[in-house]
C-alpha cells in the first residue's frame, strides 16, 4: 500500500502531531481572540501559539489516497483517489458500489 511513499509517511507524522497538540492549540487561539483579556496576556499567548511545532497544524494535512498516495482527486468518503476507486469498483471490491444509470 502506502508504506514506501515518503510523502505519505510525512503526512502521517503531521496527523499524529496535530492530534497531539490540538487541544492546546485550540485553547491558545480561543484566548487570543477574547477582547476582554489584558493585552500583555494576549501577546504572550500569541508567542506561545507561534512556538508550537508547525507540523501540528491541521492546515498542513493533506488527504492523500490511501492506496496510491495521490494528493489530488481524493474522495474523503472512500479515502482513495479517483483512479483507484474506479479500478476497485469495477472489480466489485467495493461493497454496494455499482455503475450508475438512471
Amino acid at each position: 500500500m502506502w508504506q514506501d511513499e515518503p510523502k505519505c509517511i510525512k503526512d502521517h507524522n503531521r496527523r499524529l502531531l496535530a492530534e497531539k497538540f490540538e487541544l492546546k492549540r485550540n485553547l491558545y487561539k480561543a484566548f487570543i481572540r477574547d477582547p476582554e483579556l489584558p493585552s500583555e496576556l494576549r501577546e504572550k499567548l500569541t508567542a506561545k501559539l507561534s512556538k508550537l511545532p508547525r507540523n501540528s497544524s491541521f492546515t498542513r494535512i493533506r488527504n492523500r489516497c490511501v492506496f496510491s498516495g495521490r494528493p489530488r482527486g481524493v474522495y474523503e468518503f472512500f479515502r482513495m483517489s479517483r483512479i483507484v476507486f474506479r479500478t476497485l469498483a469495477n472489480q466489485g471490491m467495493l461493497n454496494g458500489v455499482k455503475k450508475a444509470s438512471w
Binding site: 500500500m1 502506502w2 508504506q3 505519505c8 503526512d11 502521517h12 496527523r15 499524529l16 496535530a18 492530534e19 497531539k20 490540538e22 487541544l23 485550540n26 485553547l27 487561539k29 480561543a30 484566548f31 481572540r33 477574547d34 477582547p35 491541521f58 494535512i61 488527504n63 490511501v66 479515502r79
Partner: protein, 104 residues
Amino acid sequence: MSGVGLRRLLETAVTQGVTEARARIFGHVLNPTGQRSPHKLLRKKLIGEKVSQWYPHDITKDDPLIMAAREQERLSKLEMLKRRGKGPPKKGQGKGAAKRNKGK
C-alpha cells in the same frame, strides 16, 4: 404615537427578558453586542482522533518475515542497478547538486 413607542418598549423588554432567562436556564452563552468571543472556538468538537486515523494500519508490518523479504528485494534491486552503473550518484555529483555547486 406615544402608545406605539410604549408598546415597542414593552415588546423589547419582554423578548430580551425571555432570551436572558433561556440562557440562564440552559447555560447558553449570550453575546448581544456581537463582539469576538472565544466561546465560538471552544464549542467546536475535537477532530484530532479522526484525523490521525486516516491511513489504515498495514498488518504486513507486524510480520518480521515479510518485512525481511521486502528489505531483501529492495537491496537486491539496488544491487542490480549498481551493477549496470545506474545506482544513486555520490554526494555532490547529482544533477541538482552539481548545478548548485557550479553556480556558487
